[in-house]
Amino acid sequence: MANIIGAVTTSHIPAIANAMANKQEDTPYWKPFFDGYPPVRKWLNEKQPDVIVLFYNDHGLEFFIDKKPTFAIGVADEYHNSDEGWGIATIPPVTGESELSWHIANSLVEDGFDMTICQEMKVDHGLTVPLSLMWPGNNYGHVKVIPVCINCEQHPMPQPWRCFELGKAIGKAIESYDEDITVAIFGTGGLSHQLDGERAGIINREFDIECMDKLVSDPESLTKYSNLDLVKIGGAQTVELNMWIAMRGALRGKVTELHRNYHAPISNTGSGVLLLEHEMPSK
């Protein structure tokens, strides 16, 4: 039986990849941010999860608003990044895991989550920055990644409660997979920030830390917020919290916090990292 051994949350800002490429990790600006990652890297290297299910949002690389999936899942053997408009450096392809992906997709649609199922999808910084962060030097090729993409761009967006339910349904699907593999769940993006409008620059440190607390001990309480609540409290792009909430939904057993870090600002955002250990629910 597939075993969900834990979860990681992290920011996925493009500037992080630039900082790594330019070797700025130890500069005064970046150090308090990067200092949050060694314990997570150590845990991943020790536990060696076979598969990562990674919740992210596409920022207009694969999906345009001609057809914008609310929820999408990749089922490919490999994924590629691409120039996102800034002429960024090419990074190695991301390895996929087709069989478990299809198992999850089948189970989700069966359970009423009508996913867009993708055999080809370019993955943007939302997915690649977390991988580069966890495996410096872009040495992430050995780990198989299943991308789950949530619309965080165009309203109407799935609400926090719905993202939590999606996570639960993915957790259930993984639990029913009959192979002896280990899985870690990644929730990426956030936390509070607003990029657009005269209100740009909003960060709500107190709310971010409260979200991290609740994510561990009382995730249901976060599902009471609407997306509009999140916009008001933390800024327009705080809806990326939905990826963290989806991650937490997938952890249906016992959760223990092993590590956390919070630092703000990084670029325009509050940046949180959490490492959670998970014991599978008893059958």
């Binding site: 608003i65 120039d83 996102e84 408009g85 620059g201 960060i203 440190r205 509009l228 600002p265 509050g270």
Partner: protein, 120 residues
């Protein structure tokens, strides 16, 4: 300097919804094309011709000319695609933040530090 816009529930925020997505479709489609270097080159060679190719409105073309980020949002631009236009201009998120808030770059960065520290 948040502005009052009765159609927007959060002052100073342009929620990208169906109405905006329809209004900004051509503009966003053009900015989406900037994912490709060839498109960026074509735009740089003749911005007006490139805007025409995507059927931008006069207001949208003016906002592109003026690098008016707020204007682009008001005309239906989604920040994710507008960011690609900004990238073409070599502007990062702090540059865009400064432009939108009417602050200098240093003032905007100081605002982020203040907000990030929880002082606000």
């Amino acid at each position: 300097m948040a502005v009052k816009d009765s159609t927007q529930p959060v002052p100073g925020t342009y929620l990208f919804d169906g109405k905006m997505a329809k209004k900004g479709y051509g503009l966003n489609k053009m900015c989406y094309s900037f994912n490709e270097q060839t498109a960026r080159d074509e735009f740089n060679k003749d911005p007006d011709a490139y805007c025409a190719k995507f059927g931008l409105t006069e207001k949208q073309i003016k906002a592109i000319h003026d690098r008016d980020i707020i204007g682009l949002l008001q005309e239906g631009g989604s920040i994710y695609y507008v960011a690609k236009f900004a990238g073409l201009l070599k502007l990062n998120m702090q540059d865009i933040g400064a432009i939108q808030t009417g602050l200098s770059l240093d003032e905007f960065k100081a605002l982020l530090v203040k907000n990030g520290s929880g002082e606000a």
